[in-house]
């Protein structure tokens, strides 16, 4: 996860001010930007996306004072440019290092013997579902109800009521809120143990 403590408070404040004049909006953008850059590194296949993102923020923090005055355009594009540099450097580093860990990753769905975890997940899902509005619950149920070919037919049917893009984004938002609720519930359960 983030190790942003390395960023001096004044640089942190300056980054926030650069992102948006409203501190609250800027703080949200900061967190979002962190997640987005981590995602970008992950999609590029980097093994430590968070570590590289930390590196990006560290570098921007060191330069923000000068860059901010001269840089034209969206600050997030500057972060993206720095991320490109970090990526290229990391690529060279990885090429010159002999990897000690096996690239083989266990199949996440083949994990056997975690019945307690499955049960907890089920309990949390059942606890979170009633928190959705009836319409959202009905939509997510209809969206995920079918698999394979039946899924395509089912979604074409749903798309008669809502444009495909809107439907997908709407389901995505509902699913994210459900997922966050389940994660919080699982964390609470873990803390109780």
């Amino acid at each position: 996860m983030a190790r942003n403590s390395a960023i001096p408070p004044e640089s942190f404040e300056e980054i926030l001010a650069w992102l948006d004049p409203d501190r609250e909006v800027a703080a949200t953008m900061y967190v979002q930007l962190y997640h987005d850059l981590s995602n970008i590194f992950r999609w590029r296949g980097c093994s430590d996306p968070e570590g590289l993102t930390d590196d990006v923020f560290d570098r921007v923090a060191r330069k923000v004072h000068e860059v901010r005055l001269t840089y034209q355009g969206d600050a997030r594009r500057y972060f993206h440019g720095v991320a490109n540099n970090v990526f290229m450097e990391n690529l060279k580093k990885v090429k010159t290092q002999v990897s000690l860990d096996d690239d083989e990753v266990p199949e996440p769905m083949s994990a056997k013997g975690d019945e307690a975890g499955t049960l907890e997940m089920e309990e949390c899902l059942q606890a979170c579902l009633p928190k959705l509005s009836p319409d959202n619950r009905k939509l997510i149920l209809a969206y995920y109800a079918k698999e394979k070919q039946a899924k395509i037919d089912n979604r074409s049917e749903l798309a008669r009521q809502l444009p495909v893009e809107t439907l997908r984004v709407k389901v995505y938002r509902i699913r994210v809120s459900l997922q966050e609720c389940i994660e919080r519930c699982l964390e609470r359960k873990a803390n109780q143990r």
Binding site: N39, R42, P108, M109, Y144, K148, A159, R160, R168, E183
Partner: protein, 276 residues
């Protein structure tokens, strides 16, 4: 930006660095692109959970989405949501009572029967207009949904797989085949997909092709963008259609090349007949 392109992006398979940079930049700054990318990511996760990925896609997926314990937990959460939805019986549609509105109106003391006729006419006209509008909207959405489905069916990832219950047919361009060689497709319940092989006979090659399909009796046509040649040696384009989209009649396919600057080549025409 098509779903197929974003899928390649998410799996780290985009060879074109410029395109990747452009998607990343929009992902960071444009909320609409971000939501689209994340929605395509959800489809990808679903395909993984339903075991619909090719071996290469699966390996790339696992190295990006199942490497850490947190990621694996997220996948399990998504799976639990899907499992719940599949197991849960579909809730019946709730219908709102319509009679009670009339009853209430009728029982209003100030409601005079003399007003009923003009009011009823106005309501009928409004209902007719609304239903015409709703119908056109529904048709438009249906059309877009079918085009989207066709684009997905013909994405490079989908074309690399050979689904069961598929038949293949080669269509000759109308300009080079004789009239009696019309290809016939018979609709059968055990066949879900038809794959057409369309030879490209023009000299000029293009980075992408676009097909437009239409039933001769219909005004409606569907466009399938971003089709590719099978390989540099074989100048043919594959096009897949779901039989559920077809009905008896004669169909025409217009295929054209799309240059990098968006310019279109002259059309090649192919045709086939669908029978029961």
């Amino acid at each position: 930006m098509t779903d197929a392109l974003l899928r390649e992006f998410l799996l780290g398979r985009l060879a074109d660095d410029e395109t990747r940079q452009r998607i990343e930049s929009l992902f960071l700054t444009d909320p609409h692109t971000k939501e689209t990318v994340l929605a395509v990511e959800q489809d990808l996760i679903e395909d993984y959970l339903e075991d619909n990925l090719t071996q290469d896609e699966r390996q790339r997926f696992i190295s990006r989405y199942a490497k850490t314990e947190e990621q694996r937990r997220n996948l399990r959460i998504t799976k639990s949501i899907k499992d719940w939805a599949v197991a849960e019986p579909q809730a019946p549609q709730v219908t709102t009572p319509t009679v009670s509105v009339w009853n209430r109106l009728w029982t209003q003391p100030q409601f005079k029967p003399v007003l009923v006729v003009p009011l009823a006419i106005a309501i009928v006209i409004a209902i007719v207009l609304a239903s015409i509008w709703l119908n056109s909207q529904r048709e438009r959405r249906k059309h877009l949904a079918i085009e989207q489905e066709l684009a997905q069916l013909n994405s490079p990832a989908s074309l690399s797989e050979v689904p069961a219950q598929m038949i293949s047919r080669e269509l000759k361009p109308v300009t080079v085949r004789s009239a009696e060689l019309q290809t016939e497709i018979s609709l059968r319940s055990d066949i879900h997909t038809v794959q057409f092989t369309l030879p490209w006979i023009q000299q000029e090659r293009y980075p992408a092709y676009e097909a437009q399909i239409r039933r001769l009796d219909d005004d409606e046509s569907y466009t399938i963008p971003n089709l590719q040649e099978v390989s540099n040696e074989q100048h043919v384009i594959r096009l897949r259609l779901l039989t559920s989209m077809l009905s008896p009649g004669q169909y025409q396919i217009h295929l054209r090349g799309v240059a990098t600057d968006g310019a279109r080549s002259p059309d090649e025409e192919y045709s086939f007949t669908v029978t029961r």
